[in-house]
């Protein structure tokens, strides 16, 4: 069982999507999370001035599945078809640390006490990193909802925040009700459909071109960033092992040689911590940023898809109307249908334009914030490394 309480790192770990807690009328954050075997329990903390809530400050425990339920109900709500739906947080992935823990358990007898201690350290660091990531991404999801004028009023969102009991029962009911009927409507953007649609609106034409291109580029950048971060972690692990091995040699030795080795082992131990921080900060600020926006771009594409579908429906309704006029039958019905389709399409276009515009702004601000934070952290860690190394070199030289 592990839990994290983010203290001094509170500011740093926050959202890839920025300024989401600006509105004091509804402030949400996740101050704590508990990991029990396979399940993660997030503690959602809410502060609100809205009268729709019973209390002004309270906390509630939620599981990852509850978030998914909330996301799905929102996606399946027809009313929100013209909005970019905040992407669902990915499932907490403790596979990496779990594997390590397994290896640790198996190899315990064959390892030296030091090797064991080092592996345990690595394991803890990895757990912590996964924790930070998953808390961040779940938090952002809720904050996106709370800061959006329409989503924050959503009934299910309120239930999610307030319902003081387990949501499991509700989740089951919801599944039965919707049963995936709308799933087809909102499945991932069909690129062919989008690109095939004849676009009259210049704004949407530009957006389409941009999103399709950007989407593949950001997916690629995310994958490459992941590989780079992984390599950083490997280097940090190597520093760890080297430190342990040097201590082994030093233990069996005496005189000057021993002192040099011990000092060097100490340096590697500290360097490892720093390199680890570099890797995990890079992951949180850069890789996670790219990952998040890959998903968000997907959500934007989904909006385009829904609009394209509405356009297709509208065009079909025109054809039906023409046919009806020709046959002289069911004209009124066809006219009504056509009016509705047009209304829906216009509504989607209007809100879609707003959403996509604010999405742009949001994206730029988020990139700015995270790039600045990442750079400042890199500088901080490099400076720490520098003073560590300078100090150690001095000590070694003076011996």
């Amino acid at each position: 069982m592990t839990s994290i309480s983010e203290d001094s790192d509170k500011e740093k770990v926050r959202s890839v999507s920025v300024d989401l807690n600006n509105d004091a009328s509804l402030v949400i954050d996740i101050p704590d999370a508990l990991c029990e075997r396979d399940k993660v329990k997030f503690t959602i903390h809410i502060k609100t001035t809205l009268s729709s809530f019973q209390k002004s400050e309270f906390s509630v425990p939620r599981q990852h599945e509850d978030f998914i339920w909330l996301h799905d109900t929102i996606v399946e709500t027809e009313e929100y078809a013209g909005l970019i739906i905040p992407p669902a947080p990915p499932k907490p992935d403790f596979e990496g640390p779990r594997e390590k823990m397994h290896k640790l358990g198996e190899g315990e007898s064959s390892m030296t006490k030091e090797e064991y201690a080092k592996m345990k350290q690595e394991l803890e660091a990895e757990y912590l990193a996964v924790f930070k990531k998953t808390v961040q991404v779940h938090e952002v999801f809720l904050q996106r909802l709370s800061s959006h004028p329409m989503f924050r009023k959503d009934r299910n969102f309120q239930i999610f925040l307030e319902y003081d009991q387990d949501l499991t029962v509700r989740r089951k009911n919801a599944k039965e009700m919707f049963g995936g009927f709308f799933k087809n409507m909102v499945k991932s953007a069909d690129e062919v459909l989008i690109s095939g649609v004849k676009e009259v609106d210049e704004f949407f034409e530009q957006e389409k071109i941009f999103l399709l291109d950007y989407s593949s580029k950001i997916k690629d950048a995310t994958a490459k960033a992941e590989k780079m971060t992984r390599s950083h972690k490997n280097v940090a692990d190597d520093y760890n092992h080297i430190s342990g091995a040097m201590n082994s040699i030093a233990a069996d030795n005496n005189t000057a040689f021993k002192k040099h080795l011990e000092k060097c082992a100490e340096v590697f131990e500290k360097l490892r911590k720093l390199e680890d921080r570099v890797a995990s900060d890079q992951e949180l600020k850069l890789t996670e940023l790219l990952r998040y926006y890959t998903r968000d771009i997907q959500a934007a594409k989904d909006l385009l898809y829904r609009r394209a579908r509405a356009l297709a429906d509208y065009e079909n309704s025109n054809k039906t109307l023409d046919k009806a006029r020709l046959k002289g039958k069911d004209i009124a019905q066809a006219e009504e249908n056509q009016k509705q389709c047009l209304r829906k399409f216009d509504k989607l276009s209007e809100s879609g334009k707003k959403e996509l515009t604010s999405f742009k702004a949001r994206r730029v601000v988020a990139f700015r914030k995270n790039l600045i934070e990442m750079t400042e952290l890199e500088i901080k860690h490099a400076k720490n490394s520098m003073s560590l190394l300078q100090g150690s070199i001095e000590i070694l030289n003076s011996n």
């Binding site: 490459k224 040689f257 070199i393």
Partner: protein
């Protein structure tokens, strides 16, 4: 006669062995006196009794060494074509020592020349308990790539690795005060053309013979059980074995670091390209600019990682590889000491047998064979004394060599560790520069 020479070698003062006398060249070929340092320094330290000088005093003498001799191995050049091609290296020496003909000189040597030097030194000095530094390993794969003419980075790396290793090898040889006196070393550094060292060819007859000898050595090591009088040797050999094991482990980890750092470098470069693409696709101008700046920063960082990987390798990993080989050489001289002990014991046994034979003859009253028996006894008595003295001498040498080795090792490691940490420091300083330059770009996003 043999006995007299031995006594002379043990007790003679260092003054006698001044370097340019041809008489001494010959003497040196047999057994080099252990406590030699720079020629001028040792006049005062004559002694007419053997162990009157403590080991510490001998050590101090050596640390006052400041012989001025710089060697560098440079300019690897491919000579010839196809499978008969080889790399020739420039070996340049700079010195003020009078044993050499001039102050600076250069020769060209190939890898087998270095191996040849090692063979000669090893033949002469290993048996006396000296730690003869081992040369870098042969690599048929590495050399084949070079011969075939592959101009790729891995063969350039191989050549650089070998060049650096050969340089370190020579530096170790000449920093050994006794080996420096060996004329083969001087010849290697000075002589224009060296006869081609044949016995080092991988698949030659001589090479095969050597392999066999090594094998029999290994077998006999297992069967010799020495009755150790001096517990120092027991403890020391154990220490050496432990250290070698630990160092091998450490070496593996440093190699892992080298590989991961190279991977990091590669992945950073790939990422940089990807970010550049993303930047060109970004429709916000300021963000687009910042992303392409980020790509440039990452490109520079990739360079840093590459350089660091090189440092990881040459400053750290190769140091460990060298010492793993050196520890093998140290174990070798403990083996030589054991062999010397065995020789002595065998001689004792033989002497015993001869005495028993004499007694039998006396009892059986065969006077004619008696004289022969007495002669044989005298012969073996002399051998026993000689081998015992040799054993004591080799023990003293091994002891001194190990102490010297430990000091060198501490110095070497300290120097290299500091150098390595300095390379890491330099990397970090560069990183700070790059990121500080990028920060305003990130802030300029609007």
């Amino acid at each position: 006669m043999l006995l007299m020479e031995c006594v002379l070698h043990l007790y003679v003062s260092t003054v006698e062995l001044s370097l340019d006398s041809p008489l001494n060249d010959r003497k040196k070929k047999d057994a080099v006196k252990p406590s030699l340092s720079a020629p001028a320094a040792s006049v005062a330290s004559s002694s007419s009794k053997a162990p009157s000088k403590t080991l510490e005093e001998l050590e101090e003498e050596e640390s006052e060494d400041k012989f001025d001799l710089n060697i560098s191995v440079t300019n690897p050049e491919k000579v010839g074509d196809g499978m008969n091609a080889y790399m020739a290296y420039k070996v340049s020496t700079q010195t003020s020592l009078t044993m050499f003909r001039s102050k600076t000189f250069t020769v060209r040597r190939r890898f087998s020349d270095f191996l040849g030097l090692y063979e000669k030194l090893s033949e002469k000095h290993s048996q006396n308990g000296y730690i003869v530094p081992p040369p870098p390993e042969k690599s048929i794969l590495g050399m084949t790539k070079v011969k075939v003419g592959k101009e790729d980075p891995s063969s350039a790396e191989f050549v650089e690795r070998r060049r650096a290793a050969l340089e370190r090898y020579l530096q170790r040889v000449v920093s050994h005060p006794s080996l420096l006196q060996d004329p083969d070393v001087r010849e290697f550094l000075e002589k224009e053309e060296l006869p081609r060292a044949v016995s080092t060819q991988a698949l030659s007859g001589a090479g095969f013979l050597k392999m066999l000898n090594k094998a029999t050595d290994a077998v006999s090591k297992m069967t010799i059980k020495m009755n150790e009088q001096d517990v120092w040797f027991d403890e020391k050999i154990q220490d050496v074995e432990n250290e070698e094991q630990h160092m091998r482990k450490l070496h593996v980890m440093v190699e892992s670091l080298v590989n991961h750092r190279k991977e990091l470098s590669g992945n950073t470069a790939v990422f940089a390209k990807s970010v550049a693409m993303l930047g060109s696709s970004e429709d916000n101008t300021a963000l687009s600019r910042a992303l392409s700046q980020l790509a440039e920063v990452e490109d520079r960082i990739e360079q840093l990682h590459q350089e660091q990987a090189s440092n990881d390798f040459f400053t750290f990993s190769e140091l460990l590889a060298d010492y793993i080989r050196l520890l093998g050489a140290v174990k070798g001289c403990f083996d030589q000491r054991m062999k010397a002990w065995q020789r002595w014991q065998d001689a004792e046994n033989m002497l015993q047998k001869k005495r028993e034979a004499e007694a039998k003859l006396l009892w059986a009253n065969k006077p004619d064979k008696l004289q022969q028996a007495k002669d044989e006894i005298a012969e073996w008595e002399a051998k026993v004394t000689q081998y015992e003295r040799e054993f004591e001498r080799i023990s003293a040498t091994v002891r001194k060599e190990v102490i010297r080795f430990d000091k060198e090792k501490a110095r070497d490691f300290k120097r290299q560790i500091v150098k390595y940490l300095e390379s890491l420091l330099n990397s970090q300083q560069q990183l700070i520069k790059y990121w500080e330059a990028f920060l305003p770009e990130a802030k300029a996003i609007a």
